[in-house]
Amino acid sequence: MSCPKFERLIALSVEGDLDARNARLVQEHLGECAACRELHEELLGSQAVLKALNEDAIDPAVLGAVRRRVLERIEDTRPSWWLAWRWRHAVAVGLTAVAVAGVALWPERQVPPPPAPAPVAEVREPVAEHASEQRGADPGIEPRPVRKAVKHAPRKPAPPRGEPLVVKMLTDDPDVVIVWLIDKNGD
């Protein structure tokens, strides 16, 4: 029967888990106590068997199967962030395309300032008189105001309203195509 007071210390000493002072105490005691020496020997034996458990061969196929399952699961979860990344990318490219189209169309959208109203007012007065005369003659007919031609700087001809600008963007996914239709007003 080993000494209860030393049992735990001996159990620690077999794997070198004691500090120097306690290790020395145990060594001294083992020199004096046959029962504790026996315990020490038995513990060394059971520890050796315990450690041998880690030498068990593991079938590489088992590890390979686990690895494969892990990688498959990772692949399955991949599209969520991958798609999100692609969409972020696509939106960035789309915004750039819209910005480029806007810049390209900008000069055509510049409308010349409206003609100054003063010359029109001068012309309207006689026309109004003429109209009242006409209203007097035939009140049922609303006379159309007649404007005299005012000479303005020649207006730029309006850009021809043709087909809208089509921006087609292909993504990595062949099923996803982003199409922007931009008319000539940039809308």
Binding site: E15, D17, L43, S46, L53, L63, V66, R67, V70
Partner: protein
Amino acid sequence: MRELALTMTAAAEASESPEPVILLRLAKAGDVAAFEQLIVLHERRVFLIALRLLRRREDAEDAAQEVFLRLHKHLRRFDDTREFPPWLYRVTVNVCRDLARSRRRDWAVEVGEQRQVEDPTAEYERREQKRIVEEALGRLPEKERAAIVLRDLEGLPTKEVARILGSTAATVRSQVSSARLKIKEFADRFRRRRT
């Protein structure tokens, strides 16, 4: 990323496999091949720890799978300056604990029928001893088993085991000492019964 890839190439040229730390960084950056290499490096130990804690091969497979999935999920949060294996072992112990609870299984397993030695050859004796110790390990309380698996089977320092188990070095020493004595006791009882 490119810099890392170049470093990895250089490391690969210098030795057969790139440094684990480089693998870790590449895996953190989303490199699946690097993550696979990381699994290859650690799968055996993770599987063995799970097997010793759960004692069922199919449970150990599930646990190992869950460990690496959790690793993949939380890898970005891992601080490069810390040591990787202790972190991985902590994840392993937690996964095993969760798995045992979710499947309502105690970590300790009932001792199976004790077979009589009919042919006492050396090999048979060795295998029998291992079986006894394995069963003794299975009968230990959860915390003692975790402590002795990490300390004696994985050879981790007591302080490291304490960190992994969220305990103190003194507690781990006490658990390990108790576990070693119980395993020896169990083996003695078995031997006495046999003779």
